[in-house]
Symmetry: C2
Subunit: 225 residues, 2 copies
DNA sequence: TAGATTGTTAATCGATTAACAATC
DNA sequence: TAGATTGTTAATCGATTAACAATC
């Protein structure tokens, strides 16, 4: 049976899938626009926005075009307006309650990180396997037993999880998060974790980022030292 | 004058520039290989390595081919051997002393992070603007005044910097790092910083990573909640 | 030898850039 | 109106995948 015979004609409705790179640039545009507003700038344009981030003007316009028409020909973009639009696209026009798993070194830093709030995230609950941690309150967030994960995730309607546990514990913890209905995991553990298709994942491996830097530095001076 | 007439014939020597995406996958291969070794696996192959990370076998082989021939037809790759090769490529076959700027929440977590050491990095010095922090020792690293940056960077032969200061202070601190000869900066501040061409930069913006997750989760359930 | 898997070339696919009519 | 800048299409560029001879 020839599948192609049964494909619906390409319609505008089946909106082209948005490349991941576009979405990450969207976040950069947002950050830059917020900076503009703090500086008192009311409008900007694709040329300026791109130059500051090292992209071409065409790329900025193309990226935004995936989601709609936000600019004014001859003028550019109104910062506050575009900020609102991008936040709606990213889903951060409303605040997401987030669960933190693991309150070790890194977990506690995340609890204290002030940058989340303004961008639409709030750590609503924290968990740890260590009995000595359970019951403590850090940065006004109580540390709970993982046994209570399901209940707390439900009451706070939590969809996102920050995974800040040791590498050996990461997959198990991730499985627990999936089991209680978490839909997205930001994984700080330096291991690959497997998740079902419907659960999104972003990984941050601090050592890997330093490796990228190491390579870049080495490349600069081909045969040095 | 026709430049093309004077181009040297393409030689293997003028190695094609390596795409950034290739290098970041290289780090993932390394992490996976190290995991294999911990599990007692001696060899692997492009199919296995790719499957675990969600890449095709062809991609794995192509990526590695940028740097040389590391495999054995019919066999695959010897894990310990490939690990060594990748570390040399990334530059982490030797340990890099790193400077940390800012010992707030995040900076202290970085000081305590155990994952750096095994991958070839060591925080050799820490700095802060806050007089109350200067003189303290955290995780066996003394916190120094930024006034001593130049001297300490030189004595430890530090090339890489971790920038964990507030957004407002990031550009100034980056300028100071550049001034003392730092060649690469891992920037945790949620702002775009401008650096001279010869200084490499990698940025980690925690809120942006969560935004990517938010978007991905939203996409999963088109019109929900 | 037969089976497996590499390294590499060619084909495909997707993303970026250039160009320009439309518009403020 | 003239000047600036958008949104969008077509052209270019680069990255991924498929295919396969070479090799263990």
């Amino acid at each position: 049976m020839d599948e192609s015979k049964h494909r619906p004609p390409k319609s505008k409705a089946s909106s082209s899938p948005v490349p991941k790179a576009v979405v990450s640039r969207l976040s950069l545009y947002l950050r830059e626009l917020q900076h503009h507003v703090r500086e008192g700038q009311e409008t900007t344009n694709s040329g300026q926005l791109g130059a500051q981030l090292g992209f071409t003007d065409a790329q900025v316009r193309k990226d935004l075009a995936y989601f709609g028409q936000f600019g004014y020909p001859g003028i550019g973009y109104r910062c506050d307006e575009l900020i609102k639009k991008i936040r709606i696209i990213l889903g951060t026009d409303v605040q997401w309650p987030v669960a933190l798993i693991g309150v070790g070194n890194l977990g506690r830093a995340l609890l204290g990180y002030k940058g989340f709030r303004h961008q639409g995230f709030r750590i609503a609950a924290a968990f740890d396997a260590n009995p000595k941690m359970i019951g403590r309150t850090i940065e006004e967030v109580a540390v709970s037993d993982l046994a209570n994960l399901s209940e707390i995730v439900q009451t706070h309607n939590i969809k996102l999880g920050l995974l800040a546990v040791p590498a050996e514990a990461a997959q198990t913890a991730a499985d627990q998060l999936v089991a209680v209905g978490i839909e997205g995991i930001l994984n700080f553990a330096p291991v690959t974790i497997s998740l079902p298709e419907h659960v999104s994942q972003v990984g941050i491996d601090l050592a890997i980022e330093l490796e990228q830097l190491s390579f870049a530095v080495l490349k600069q001076r081909p045969a040095a030292d």
